[in-house]
């Protein structure tokens, strides 16, 4: 399985809003902790190591360093 980088969410705006809602009311540290848990949950759901490696590379590259 290769990493899906083309649109794959049925309702992108809806998901984005849900993501923000999950962070609402949290401190900076609590938000970062939530993101960490979320990453682990999603990584396990994906399961495929090659796709995960590609996702790590893309995330790092998009940050510019």
């Amino acid at each position: 399985m290769s990493l899906v980088t083309t649109p794959n969410l049925a309702d992108p705006d809806g998901f984005y809003a849900a993501l923000l809602a999950a962070h609402r009311g949290l401190s900076e540290a609590e938000s970062a902790a939530l993101d960490a848990r979320l990453v682990l949950i999603l990584a396990n759901h994906i399961g495929d190591r090659a796709a995960l490696e590609a996702a790590l590379a893309l995330a790092r590259a998009a940050g510019g360093r």
Binding site: A33, A36, R37, L40, N44
Partner: protein, 518 residues
Amino acid sequence: MAYSHRPFAYRTPPGVTAPEPRHAVVIVGAGPVGLALALELAGQGVPSVVLDDNDVVSVGSRAICWSKRSLEILDRLGLGAACLAKGVTWTVGRTFHREAEVWRFDLQPEAGDKMPAFVNLQQYYVEEYLAERALAEARIDLRFRNRVVAVGTQADHVRLGVETPDGPYALEARWLVACDGARSSVRGMLGLDFAGELFEDRFLIADIEMKAAFPAERRFWFEPPFHPGQSALLHKQPDDLWRIDLQLGRDADPEAERRPERVIPRIERLVGHSDFRLDWVSVYSFQCRRLARFVHGPVIFAGDAAHVVSPFGARGGNGGLQDVDALGWRLAAVVQGRAGAGLLDAYDRERQVAADENILHATRATRFMTPAPGAERRFRDAVLALAAQAPFARGLVNSGRLSTPCVYPLPGAPDDARLPAASRPGAVAPDAPQGAGWLLERLGGDMVLLGVGCAPPAVPGLRGVAAEINDVVRARYLGAAPRALLLLRPDQVVAARWVAAAPGDVAAAAAAVWEGRA
């Protein structure tokens, strides 16, 4: 009761009064690795001189967890029964976060092996058994209070300077095996680089004596209420001794932390009372480092002298005994002229792979336990927070991945995809019941051609063994295949296997082993 360290007798070595002839093998260090190697060589018919700067076994329990593979090796040396009888057998580990159990493993859920997954036994007992055996062995010249202070390497031998209570003397050896521990003076004298990672966190390691009904399980806590923010380990040993590891953090003062008035309250909070005796206390910081190569001309490194790991996973002493397993038969063959010195390169190659594997696992576990501030800490805490709720996260909780023997990469080894992974080339032959005994008791020491479901054909230089078929043998050696032939090295590692093979194929595979190619 506290262990009493009886000193071994010192005798004036012959070299103090007259030059000694060049020895085939001199081993520096009578720790578990040096002693086991001397016994392994003696079993192969090779005499050795063992030099140790001390005259007592390990002060402090140090290594307590001996793995199944170590027990199998010790069994081959005649010490399996003693270790099993004295040691505390365990297979279950439980990991807690705060108050909740988040992960439980059973290292040996199925029967079929002579040896259990782990036995807890203080290093001083293991050394005592090994030393008594070595002292009784005519081929071993074990010299206490002989400190190596100089090493001069030539192309084909080594000259040693040794200090004793009777003064200094010189010794020559065709092969020098440095088993002189983590601070190896041989390594230092040769000026070899010992590269790797040092961890800043300090750990309090203590043995206490108490009567307790806790089961013989490994119990590990992250951030327990009795030791907030840090990790803790509790493990049972013989003689009503309990091993306690308490993480102290980066800023702990090792001198202050060693003092009983500091240690005792910490332990009281863990065990919930003060009815115990403090037997041994030490404060450690840990490292994962290794030599780039373990064979340097006539000098060979094994055990902690070659590589050190943090203790989470019990890979230090167990890894060292596996070095002995990989080295003994090869060095014996070289000394006896049955193989060229190139065979030792195979030891070097295989044990580097194993050391890297041990360092990888030990480093990951130490990092999980002592995460750096920032992302490392955040993900560690995320795993622990999820573990109580989501089964997948339990597999990420890392309190140490316990020692298992390395499966050596043997890319050219004959193999058959129909046969099960458990006995693939490079792996230690799995044990199985055989009548009233065990399969591993019938293997090892020499090269064996094992027939499973068939009689092994006669091949010169190989001892044929026919396995009795039962469910364990079928699962571990046959899978769906009707029969199998396995070539087993003297260290019980599978060198090659076939469903059907001509004697010529087998002989070629055996030749590859002796040439260091498998």
